[in-house]
């Protein structure tokens, strides 16, 4: 303890025509169990009330506080300053629209992504509110839940070489989303329908396997495994079509 931390923080307000992108430096005395959330709040309270950043749950659940911490995307609320060097550089996530300073709009991107992969259970059954809930196998439910843990923070997209170079690439978060519905027995979509969404160069075949997503995901989702499974599934689905004669 007792360290004096130096913060280099990206500053820019796109709403203000006079604002120019630059870095501001702040100094802060480190306290015990200090997270970046605590540090940023302290800076805003004590040093610069105009500093913009997003927070909601402070517990790694909402995904609002993702930012580039010394070059790597992570959640500020679950990053302890004791794990960082004396000098800490904070930048907003790339790809997403900048609201100001460290605050980005992930919502628009994620809405678009969820619409693109049709991120809901597709079923022809009509819902009967008085009927018993349909039973699901425990193992399947667990498997779905494992992928459902995604908090849509945007770290995987920010760390993805492909997504940074090609804005039409849907990113690991979308593949994880699709993989979740493929597991779900309630979703009646066929493999061909999934293929139409994700079997493209904007989808799974655009992935170059750099695994930035896997290595930065703050929820440790099994992205590498899911991407591998999806590539094989979609790959085989295309090969099967090749050998299907007639209808």
């Amino acid at each position: 303890m007792g360290r004096r931390l130096k913060f280099n923080i990206f500053r820019y307000n796109p709403q203000d025509p006079d604002s120019v992108p630059h870095t501001d430096t702040f100094y802060l005395a480190e306290t015990e169990s200090m997270t970046l959330f605590i540090a940023l709040t302290d800076i805003r309270e004590e040093q610069d009330s105009s500093l913009q950043f997003d927070f909601c749950c402070r517990a790694g659940i909402c995904g609002a506080c993702a930012m580039m911490i010394n070059g790597r995307p992570n959640l500020a609320c679950k990053t302890l300053t004791k794990d960082l060097p004396d000098e800490i550089t904070l930048m907003p996530l790339p790809i997403f629209k900048l609201i100001g300073d460290l605050s980005v709009d992930t919502g628009t991107w994620f809405r678009e992504m969820n619409e693109k992969v049709e991120s809901w259970v597709h079923t022809s059954k009509s819902f009967d509110p008085s009927a018993d809930e349909e039973r699901m196998d425990d193992a399947v439910a667990e498997e779905i839940y494992e992928l459902e843990r995604c908090i849509e923070c945007g770290c995987c997209v920010a760390a993805c070489g492909t997504a940074n170079m090609r804005r039409d690439f849907v990113g690991a978060v979308a593949m994880n989303r699709i993989a979740r519905f493929m597991l779900d027995p309630r979703d009646q979509r066929t493999e061909a329908e999934y293929f139409e969404i994700i079997g493209t160069d904007e989808g799974i075949f655009g992935c170059m396997g750099l695994l930035g997503c896997e290595d930065v995901c703050p929820k440790h989702l099994p992205l590498q495994d899911q991407l591998g499974i999806l590539r094989r599934k979609m790959g085989w689905s295309a090969v099967k079509e090749l050998f299907r004669f007639g209808k």
């Binding site: 293929f195 079997g199 396997g209 750099l210 930035g212 590498q224 495994d225 591998g228 094989r232």
Partner: protein, 216 residues
């Protein structure tokens, strides 16, 4: 700026999938070829007679005359397929370099190495194939004479590590991309990749030294 001005939806297509398959299969084929190639060349290390015998067998059965051009075509096809992913635009180049420096992420760096070595191999590999295939038969004496000339020694000292890096990383990349290496296997696959690269570079260097010291 991307403005959606289309009034139609593009027809669903399986092209991306087929191209990705081809990229992987040509890559895997070339990896296997490069490893066997290195082992065959290394046959000069125990005795040049062994290398001559293998070379003679490959030519007598026309495997060199037919296989050579097939490998050359596969090589060029693999380049064209993989080049779909290589950033040729300045903006994309600067993005990926900046991101790699920021992230300090090994696998992203490895991909940059793959892309850079690819360009070197494209040119030097073509020169190598042309030189060897237009001057059949392959004999240990001819190879040794070439290496002892000096120019070709430098040429192969550059080409050897480029090829082995590209092949080693490619092997690892195919494994993670296609799900052969799962999360739990990733570390050991990477270790395997490093060892394989080091072993093949070592074999290549030993063969070069052997050619260099062979009395012609």
């Amino acid at each position: 700026m991307a403005v959606d001005t289309t009034t139609y939806v593009p027809a669903p297509s399986r092209t991306s999938a087929y191209l990705d398959w081809l990229q992987m299969l040509t890559g895997a084929g070339l990896i296997l070829f490069m490893w066997s190639h290195m082992i065959l060349v290394a046959s000069v290390i125990p005795t040049p007679r062994l290398m001559n015998a293998i070379a003679h067998f490959l030519e007598a059965t026309y495997m060199a005359q037919v296989g050579g051009p097939i490998i050359a075509c596969t090589f060029l096809l693999h380049f064209v397929l993989a080049a779909r992913k290589v950033p040729f635009r300045v903006e994309q180049q600067s993005t990926i370099w900046k991101l790699s420096r920021q992230l300090r992420h090994t696998d992203t760096y490895l991909w940059l190495i793959q892309a850079v070595t690819a360009m070197v191999i494209l040119i030097m590999g073509c020169i190598h194939m042309w030189t060897v295939l237009t001057d059949l038969p392959i004999t240990a004496a001819k190879s040794a004479a070439r290496i002892q000339g000096g120019f070709w020694l430098v040429f192969y000292l550059i080409l050897l590590p480029m090829v082995e890096l590209h092949v080693g990383i490619g092997f690892y990349r195919i494994a993670v991309k296609w799900g052969f290496a799962r999360r739990k296997d990733r570390k050991s696959f990477k270790k395997l990749e490093t060892y394989l690269t080091a072993i093949f570079v070592a074999i290549g260097l030993m063969a070069l030294v052997r050619f260099l010291t062979l009395s012609v």
